[in-house]
Symmetry: D2
Subunit: 362 residues, 4 copies
């Protein structure tokens, strides 16, 4: 169950303190130019070493592509890649060997598997998301060929919420802030949490534009359902909204319905998805990240023998995991959209004859 | 893509104004007592003919089981069932043959498929959810055997939000209200929307208790991610939250983390899921339903030739789709949990020897 | 696990002596003309009531389509269908309630499920194959749109093997014989087995022509591997060959390799598949059917308490299941090929831009 | 589509002349002792450098495990592994850059993907099977815990067929011969083919013992169907038989049916599978390998511009690919059986309560 997607399928592997994290992206159409510099730039955005929000753990995070490309282009074979774990300091975790860190995966995974790689969360670590970003970068390259793109930014840090959604500004902001007027205050909130040995939550907006109408497979692979799965599956996300989202529950139909004109939709409450299928309008997603669970403050917990203990987590951790998480949400969104673009081929019978009838078999 | 689940897999079929809706539930363990009265009672809850919130369309909604049971017990074979469409009045839709109803699937599905069953939304109609409820009822029977159950109720109608979450009270409320003190006001809000030819949104809470720790398959079939997919895929849902949900984004780590004691978790922000795996605590989900898109008020729209038109939708529609939607959310939650209970078998190597070694083959 | 296929996915349900058998075919592209007369004609071929080889059980075998078509064309929604079980005589099986019929599924399924629908094999009965034939008929309609077709016939009955492969002749032969010169002798072999209360095996050839090069998804959904799975899964098949098949193991490379010229391949040992992908040449499959396990002769067996017993099976059974099985093999082959034609869309990146770039979203 | 299996799922990647081949095995239960020496010994058997039948290409074939194990045991996380390509001599293939090698994947894959890694077949090379062997080795470790094992050997080389099936002898034979009396003649047949610049086919027998009754998921994941898929998907296999296989088609029912006594089945024509489910008897599979398509003799072919050419293949190739292929067939069989053992958990409702009810959630 470490694979995601139908026709475009990402399988990931690796642990926080093992040799590497990595992945296999299967189903990439042949002939796609594999722009390694772009892939690296996406990893660099996730790494965010410069940002106050991110972990002080310094990883080079170089993606090494092992297969599936030949002379710069995809061959149709699975694209495997590794990202070495260079900055492992497993001894940071020696004190935690028998303790369940609150709000982490430690307890529930131990109940499931009965064994435990205690070093930095092992497989449950957000470090795995580097592999998602590589997969998402290739998905973005696929989407480029049909004129679609995915962007994101941070709209709120803790209770400090912005109103402006300037996705271009976010690209240059160290905390990926969407609202330039709130950036300083949001930055300070993160810094304060860090100083206090605490962490802080965040709200992330993801937007996809240029997405053709018709993507999404009703009824059990609806576009919004698969996006919700993809985003809720990102570490620390606790809520996902599409379009007006939670606000829609407080509306009347006459307020919420997006009426239509020849120029397009007259409002954007649907968030680009109608009946689980893209409408051609921009796809708007909101992700709510909880604060990083690793904090230095003392917390009550249990050890693996279920004795009561107090834990203080040292290690190196993001104080606001939502900042880097935004890049992961983009990646997951891109993976879903590219997958749906592939799955939608054949939705009409004329797609088949258009592809196959011109070919004359030998 | 009309199938849901891995080991327990529901496939549904049927349109709003065709002969029937129905489904096939595959993967039900053999030997389960198939309690048809219980299945029918779940359908009756969804049907909600008595409720002010529901559509005046009256369907008997009798589930006919076609296969997979023998002498009252499941055989391991797929359980197929039909629910006849008795009350079809397709002529209600004749005026809509060429019009896209705003906020419905009409436009996006037409772009996808190029053909259209205009009668009541065809496949995109919420009527399909009757099949989900049958599947969910059988999933609940499976969950019963391991001591788990799923409940739900309505916490808000439009802006009228309750605070109390009394799941027992909700079972007897015509609008499934969780807060008895808000029920009258919420009921009136629905009635007012109906009188005005309008509709209204709602918030639904779903709770699962008795769920063993260890369910959920990291990293791409996490329990919360699959629940988010399941719930977002219910018609009219625009946002899904787990535990503290959106509120978590405004918290500090020291507030949000659920600390642990020998008596269990000291708070419930996680909503019963840690690292994508159940913790044994109650699973808490919030679903936000938009208002029913079908309203009698005039709305701007397009026809299938993309001419601008005005539409007034007659038909028979729920004025608050979230009320009946709560039953569907329960069903989807039960399907996910039962599937995950099956998938988790074999998470530890000793599960295999415990099952197989006692058997001596002939 | 009662579903077959990726993009075109058949789910079947129903037992030999229940209300019906049926299925749901999901993933049919929208706009396909659903030729119900053709579907029925395929069912009629399988039914083969006229043939000496077939069971005397007389079923009307009418396929009733429940969903997924509107005004004669597919809508993209799942196509569900039922075939009623009219001629059930369950009392034929009363004597067998506690007995395992040799070479049937009885013993192994009882070990798996612990319960048993003893009436005619329940779910394991070849009657389920009627649902496969309906699914396969729709797959053939899809294949027609790209110029491909699937045929079959019987090449051997017991040890009486034909040499000629006249697929047109087979269509008119009561035992679907491929070699007109052997038909009488093969017919007599079947009749003799029947008279003796015995049954007899058969060899079936399946051929698909007009299949475009490029179908099959390496490395774990190779065309030949999926065909082998599809055919081996047909009741009573014990061996599957592609092209030269078993004979290839006795050849030298210089004999076996199909050399190429501008006019095409110079021989046909590959059977139309190279490296798991179709080559454009005719696809040739051989299926070996064991004799029907139900025979009237006394056989040693066990009862469900594992006591030794003797069984004599009355019932109504095909004396040569391979004859009707050939139609099922055709259906399974068509399902695989249509699925692979859909899956192959997107094998080249230019497929995506050809489909999506001309569309301008609203 | 480079993944195989349901609950135990192998994903492979890599090309013949790229950096490595590798794989990810997902779904391994936690707590399994990962015996790396055993894994290596399986790779060594496949490598078969000592054998006259194998390619002179010398690879160390060391499996490096990257993830999923901690302190010698599986953790439930995916097990990724790499096998470096040390002995790449891509220049051997320069002459073949524009030529389709007869009976190879070259032509059909070029038709599918439009691009081509001409070096040694790229992804289509049998070198990928090293990854299957690693996955299969771990599957064997899983099977050990339930007392099951898988063996294989070569029964025929070209037309020289053995009668004895001595699986222990085969383990020590350089050509994995099952019949000691035929080994010398079979070895000479391979040597002669090699001297002549030719290659030769082979027949392989695979046997699994200790397999519990009840494995296989009817109706579309039958054990025999999945085995047929698994084996037909091995490079160069053209036919697969279960039990009596092709011989069954020439039998009468009274000959073919395996009657039962308290001591077990009285014959073994079924090959351990009844109705698609294991019976507890030994599972017997026969695989027919065509000769290696790479031969030094001149052959007519086409180039990528479809001009007629003559090709003589130098490179380094097995002269009898079936010899090493037997180890791959074992691996695929083990993967199927371990997957089915996991899938079968939950076939009876009491499996669920046995696992979950003793657990008391926190």
């Amino acid at each position: 169950m470490n694979s995601f997607g139908f026709r475009l399928r990402l399988t990931t592997f690796g642990e926080s303190h093992g040799a590497c994290v990595g992945g296999v992206l299967d189903g990439v159409p042949a002939g796609l130019a594999i722009d390694e510099a772009f892939i690296q730039s996406e990893l660099d955005r996730r790494r965010g070493g410069a940002s106050i929000a991110a972990t002080p753990r310094k990883e080079a995070d170089r993606a090494e592509i092992l297969s599936g490309a030949f002379e710069g282009r995809s061959t149709g074979a699975p694209i495997a890649f590794l990202i070495a774990n260079a900055a492992v300091r497993s001894q940071d975790y020696d004190d935690l060997r028998d303790l369940f860190r609150p709000a982490h995966a430690d307890y529930s995974w131990f109940m499931k598997y009965g064994v435990r790689d205690h070093r930095g969360g092992g497989r449950s670590s957000a470090r795995e998301s580097a592999a998602r970003v590589v997969g998402g970068a290739i998905a973005k390259l696929i989407l480029q060929t049909i004129g679609a793109k995915v962007e994101s930014g941070v709209s709120a840090v803790g209770a400090i919420a912005g109103e402006i959604r300037d996705f271009d500004y976010a690209k240059t902001s160290p905390i990926f802030a969407l609202d330039p007027r709130k950036e300083a205050e949001q930055t300070e909130a993160i810094a304060r949490a860090k100083r206090d040995g605490d962490s802080i939550g965040a709200v992330v907006k993801i937007r996809a534009t240029g997405v053709p109408a018709g993507l999404g497979e009703p009824l059990y692979a609806k576009l919004d359902a698969k996006l919700a799965e993809a985003i809720m599956g990102v570490n620390a996300v606790k809520a996902v909204e599409i379009g007006a989202g939670a606000l829609a529950s407080a509306m009347l139909g006459s307020e919420c319905n997006d009426q239509m004109s020849a120029a397009g939709f007259l409002s954007a409450n649907a968030g680009g998805v109608l009946g689980g299928v893209s409408s051609g309008a921009a796809i708007e997603i909101t992700a709510h990240f909880k604060p990083t669970p690793s904090i230095a403050k003392p917390q009550k917990t249990l050890d693996t023998s279920l004795n009561e203990r107090v834990i203080e987590i040292k290690g190196r951790h993001d104080s606001c995991v939502g900042v880097r998480g935004s890049v992961v949400c983009e990646a997951m969104t891109a993976l879903v959209l590219a997958d749906m673009a592939l799955l939608n081929m054949g939705s009409k019978i004329e797609h088949l004859s258009a592809l196959y009838l011109p070919q004359s078999p030998v």
